[in-house]
Symmetry: C3
């Protein structure tokens, strides 16, 4: 694997899921693989699971790690090409990346959507600079439009929880929120599920359809009850409008997932990437109920990261 920013960087999804599950059985099986190599974990945004699970994966692989909370610890970054830097920004992202090239064998970066202009976010204004200027493999720790390490953990979790012959019915359902939230997790889950052997349906209110670049031919239903019927997995996530970018058109029905709605599913397993707003996106009873596999998802972030870092190291070590 040469880089990891979307599902298209994965040669064979079933193989990497299998690898991750083997790592879960024996996390310390490759403690020499990263010896003498350095990964930079660069955070432009908040993080709990990604921050911690990545560090565990790094330790399990014997990698050296450089943690950088870029905003708080380093310099205010400029992102515009050709900028005359006579304002608040102190260092151009190009220069920061080039310095990371000098110091790291792998660069992993978290760079959320700014939610200011659709163009910047759709074009991955930050991640694209890493992809363009990095001379070492780049790993996304969530970018403006995708969260691939989360999606791989989601695939691992569904694989662990599905033993039947038939395809599971997987519903990605929109949930309420109080602020305009990015599309990365929704987009990414849609994209990865299309590579899995599942029946995927997306449920969201009118005005909230995701970018078709990610959802492609997936059926989108604007009625949550209809979508949830007989679902085997329910992935709960908020996102703001894509068409009317970052807007929050009014939604009349209550889309919060409750036990009552869950009763309509096929004893559906509930998933969420976390952090979750309890009693807004889903109810306490769902979160704490036996159908939730949300913490299992969180744990699988370790093995998702470790499988990816390991494959990147294979590529580096083969040179």
């Amino acid at each position: 694997m040469k880089k990891f920013t979307s599902v298209s960087d994965v040669e064979n999804l079933q193989d990497i899921i299998k690898k991750a599950l083997q790592i879960k059985e024996n996390p310390l099986s490759e403690t020499e693989k990263g010896k003498g190599k350095t990964i930079g974990l660069v955070f432009l945004n908040s993080s709990l699971r990604t921050r911690l699970s990545s560090q565990i994966a790094v330790q399990n692989l014997g990698l050296n790690v450089l943690m950088l909370n870029a905003a708080q610890e380093a310099w205010n970054l400029e992102f515009a090409d050709g900028a005359v830097m006579n304002g608040e920004t102190v260092e151009h992202i190009k220069d920061a990346i080039e310095v990371l090239n000098q110091y790291c064998d792998i660069i992993a970066v978290r760079c959320f959507a700014g939610m200011k202009t659709k163009e910047d976010d759709v074009n991955e204004s930050i991640l694209s600079q890493f992809e363009q200027h990095a001379k070492v493999p780049v790993i996304s720790l969530e970018s403006a439009t995708r969260h691939p390490l989360q999606s791989l953990a989601d695939c691992i979790t569904i694989t662990e929880n599905w033993k039947e012959e038939r395809k599971p019915k997987v519903v990605l359902t929109w949930a309420p929120h109080i602020k305009p939230i990015a599309h990365a997790v929704g987009n990414s889950f849609a994209e990865w599920m299309q590579e899995m052997d599942v029946e995927l349906i997306i449920a969201n209110p009118e005005g909230y359809d995701l970018d078709e670049k990610f959802t492609k031919e997936v059926k989108v239903i604007h009625n949550q009850d209809e979508a949830l019927k007989d679902a085997d997995f329910i992935y709960v996530k908020n996102w703001s409008s894509f068409d009317d970018y970052a807007a929050m058109p009014e939604v009349k029905e209550n889309w919060m997932l409750t036990n009552e709605k869950l009763a309509n599913t096929n004893q559906g397993k509930v998933m969420h990437c976390l952090p979750v707003r309890r009693n807004v996106e889903l109810s306490d009873e769902v979160m704490d109920g036996e159908n939730s596999i949300i913490y299992q998802q969180a744990k699988n972030r370790i093995f998702s990261a470790q499988a990816v870092f390991s494959e990147i190291l294979d590529e580096i070590n083969s040179k």
Copy 2:
């Protein structure tokens, strides 16, 4: 040791003091004990000594460590059970703890008193959630009402500095401050000293008596000079009112510890947990004088932490 949040978690105080002193002689005697295990050091508040001494202890034991400055690096936490999270909080502490359960073999947390409501602080509104939801051993790095790793370091320091047969006279004396300060260090010192073979007296102005839950039968004197007479150890610390919670009733006498006051003691050794406000809590001459064992206390934080982490690891490894 199954957890460490107060002196009641210690089976035998003299044994753990002895162990800490052995570690001080040979800090690298157990570098394999933590191999393959992970401790999460979670800071909800500022820290210098606790942050650094815990990391040294962790390194000496060969533990992997996940450092988390929760407020700055992760998400704004909700602490109220059943909250409808439609405000500023992004992740419920229950969910953060459950994720830490997935990632860590030990969870250590610093969670100061909020100093807003007596009820919240007395009930340890944050630490109690860790005690309730953590599925791995919990270690307090200072909570609303106690600072047990400090108190253990204090016991170690007194043990090192007392070679006579008779019980030393130990005075915990209130000191001035400019802001309402929590009771954790005072409470905790009182609690641990009652387990030591010392004569403990507490000196504080009227209106500043500590919670009797911690001081129990200990003699409380409202006249500092009287209390300090013939003291062998003087522990200097400010706290705000407990009865009139977090208030700062006026104090007419000057309670700052000076050389003049020290002259009244039995060449008493001066202790403080740090950070200290010089020339407010105690004078420069006391801080920099030969009676101060304050830096020795700070050093002993390493061995306090290492002894506790080591005993927790014994428990984990025995399973």
Copy 3:
């Protein structure tokens, strides 16, 4: 080497450059040297290169490391001797240093100029406290008036890029900026270049002469074009006025380094310590052009740090 805060701590500059270049060839040749030793990396200011390159050096030497973002993670520091600490400051720098003495075998600290009073900065009001109170070797990660790890990296970089018999002409040229910037990099470069076998010239507008304590007999020219003529190395850096401390007297000519100006040099190599304000200090075309050795400089920060840490460890281990 007993400490490292200026060029005067280096016994033989050519020897340490040679050592650094050997380390660059084989960075993992001394992975046992730091075993069981701890270095504290204390940051009072922002840092990208220093933060990351120091950590790589530390890892290569097998040192334990304590990272401390003092302002955000610990306590608000008091710097004034004898202060009555009844204001915003919570811990005296003397006490923080004494605690670091207890925890570290080496203390490295970044403490920028405050740019408030000339006296404080010229007297190194913060670093001097470390030099006075530290009982272990002190390393400057940039202080008010010097940036010696940068200057050593600059010496390494010039050595790598100069193979001719004759002395290279090295021009330290002032560049525009929008804020009052400290003199540390300029001072330090001037000081170190005087120990190198080069012809050094400093170019800056009138009113911007550096402190003669650092520049001594070096020729200072107030006309940039004249200075740049036939230059082999051009070191670009802004600084504010020293005489009229931290002021920014008006400059009529445009001192931004451009390709047009570079044409006047002897195919001069361009250097900068980073971060750089593109299209203010120098143009994009210069930064991204083939004459820039700026990223090579950044990489050499690793070997500069590792050579210094290694020599400090030699001193410690010899005791």
